[in-house]
């Protein structure tokens, strides 16, 4: 066993861990988990969940274990194209992840197994739908034993969804601060009074938080713990009903209707689409990130051609609308995610290394940066030099649109502020980008002043 690297997010559970060797992902299953693993595989539960696309598949491999003393088996799990985190999901993505977790728990119970944890990080998105990625989360059900993962489920799913639904959608970002989900006392304080009249939120959040406070640091008697099977199923059903009722009725934000609020004609819009399409076909990328994707009109130019595409946007409404389209059309290659490029997802957790930063998940084969640069340069005061450097780090190929100061969309940004952006013009733009990229092609869009470029990274 030589060049293995342990995946930094899988250290908490003593049942096993993930590791990479020669860029292949493996999972060591420890002896302590052998009984549960065999039960998962032999009971038919694994097969059932995989057949329903609810659990990642794996194959058992003959591979030397990194930690021999504990090793029971080595498995090679199916890979997820892009790892995302709950603070990057839209409301419906988190809700779907919650319902998937409960669905898995319900099915597991029929096979006499339970989920021993219920963290949102155990769910990822594959082909547009949530899928459970932790094969070692299942353990044999013991009659009378309560659900160990109950608190974690409330913190990771019910509390954030309730806050996003009943208070403010931006509270989903609390995930960035609280790695193990939103503390229930905080959720209880933040939620409006009306939520106390809703059975699921009254019990699973408000009373739950009170109960946690009451029993804080109290020694307890294990023998008196008992939850019948019917009650166990009742708790899951109650959570399911509570989650299902949560809705988010959004009002249009600044960018939600961006496509109907553009300043260019149908001709220019179609011309832009054709140019991007041409650049994508020419480049034939393995994967694409569309930054500032809005509801994904241009992202679909790649995802519709079976290129795995991630559509990032800062606006929760745009990401929500985009994901609704993915669900509606059953799209397999598009993953809409929430991201503020001016403050992208950082490294989080233990040793600052448990959850990966946005940059750490790059480079990608191609980035689309359409109608984006003026937001970075003018709304956020980022010099063109820094923007060019940023793109150099994240992509091998770049399709970027330059929008000159004369454009009404840029003028709109300058209405309320002094124009201090003397360097913001096409000459400086090209000069700065040519430091890091080779400009392969460029073309004006229709009858507008906007220019689209296809560039190749000089170093990646």
């Amino acid at each position: 066993m030589s060049n293995y690297k342990i995946e930094t997010s899988s250290f908490r559970d003593s049942s096993g861990f993930l590791f990479y060797e020669n860029e292949i992902l493996y999972r060591q299953i420890n002896k302590s988990y052998s009984e549960h693993y065999d039960f998962l595989m032999n009971s038919g539960l694994y097969e059932k969940l995989v057949s329903l696309n609810l659990l990642v598949s794996h194959s058992e491999v003959d591979h030397a274990p990194p930690k021999k003393n504990n090793a029971y088996k080595i498995i090679q799990p199916e890979l997820i194209p892009f790892i995302s985190y709950p603070y990057e999901w839209s409301f419906t993505q988190l809700k779907q992840a919650a319902l998937t977790t409960l669905q898995i728990q319900k099915i597991a119970m029929k096979y006499e197994m339970v989920l021993k944890d219920a963290t949102s990080y155990n769910v990822q998105f594959k082909e547009g739908k949530p899928i459970f990625i932790d094969t070692l989360s299942f353990e044999k059900y013991e009659e009378g034993k309560p659900w160990q993962a109950y608190r974690q489920f409330c913190q990771h799913f019910l509390a954030p969804l309730a806050l996003m639904s009943h208070k403010d959608i931006r509270l989903g970002q609390l995930f960035r601060i609280f790695i193990d989900g939103i503390p229930l006392d905080l959720a209880s304080k933040l939620l409006p009074l009306k939520t106390r009249s809703m059975f699921s939120l009254l019990t699973h959040i408000h009373a739950h938080a009170k109960s946690q406070k009451h029993f804080e640091n109290k020694k307890v008697d294990a023998k008196k713990s008992h939850l019948s099977r019917r009650s166990f199923e009742g708790v899951i059903a109650s959570l399911n009903s509570g989650i299902s009722k949560l809705k988010w009725s959004f009002e249009d934000t600044e960018w939600g209707d961006y496509y109907s609020d553009t300043n260019y004609s149908d001709f220019a819009f179609n011309d832009k689409k054709n140019l991007i399409q041409k650049f994508i076909e020419k480049n034939n990328p393995k994967n694409v990130w569309d930054l500032g994707a809005n509801t994904g009109v241009f992202s679909r130019l790649s995802s519709d051609h079976e290129i795995p595409t991630v559509a990032f946007d800062i606006d929760p409404v745009a990401v929500e609308k985009n994901y609704q389209i993915v669900l509606e059309k059953d799209e397999k290659n598009l993953l809409p995610l929430l991201l503020d490029l001016t403050n992208p997802s950082p490294y989080l957790g233990w040793e600052n290394n448990e959850r990966k930063s946005f940059l750490d998940r790059s480079p990608v084969d191609m980035v689309l940066a359409l109608a984006l640069i003026h937001h970075l340069a003018i709304s956020n005061n980022v010099p063109l030099e820094n923007i060019s450097r940023f793109f150099k780090k994240i992509c091998k190929n770049l399709v970027i649109e330059f929008i000159p100061k004369s454009d009404s969309q840029v003028q709109r940004l300058l209405v309320t502020r002094e124009d201090i952006f003397n360097d913001y013009d096409i000459e400086n733009f090209e000069e700065e980008f040519e430091k890091n990229f080779i400009i392969l092609e460029s073309s004006k869009i229709g009858n507008s002043e906007r220019v689209i470029y296809l560039m190749k990274n000089k170093t990646l």
Binding site: R12, D13, S14, S15, K116, D117, K145, P146, W147, Q148, A149, Y150, R151, Q152, C154, S197, F199, L202, T203, H204, A207, H208, K210, S211, Q212, K213, H214, F215, E216, K218, V220, D221, A222, K224, S225, H226, L227, S228, R230, S231, F232, G234, V235, A237, S238
Partner: protein, 69 residues
């Protein structure tokens, strides 16, 4: 229903050591969480049982009245 929950909650709080667990797990299930889970489980369990009996009762009444017709 709300009153029922509140009563159950208060009653259960008054019994020391009721439904508490220090069950072995790699994540801390939390005593307060175990308690409230047991309470909700019991309430929902009773509600389900009542619902089942109610449907059975209704079926019996309606079933027999349909037979009468």
């Amino acid at each position: 229903m709300k009153l029922f929950v509140l009563m159950g909650f208060l009653m259960a709080f008054s019994i020391p050591g009721f439904f508490i667990s220090d069950a072995f797990a790699y994540i801390d299930p939390g005593s307060g969480s175990m308690f409230i889970q047991a309470l909700i489980g019991a309430l929902v369990g009773i509600a389900i049982a009542l619902k089942i009996y109610w449907y059975k009762f209704k079926e019996k009444i309606l079933g027999s009245s349909q037979k009468d017709e």
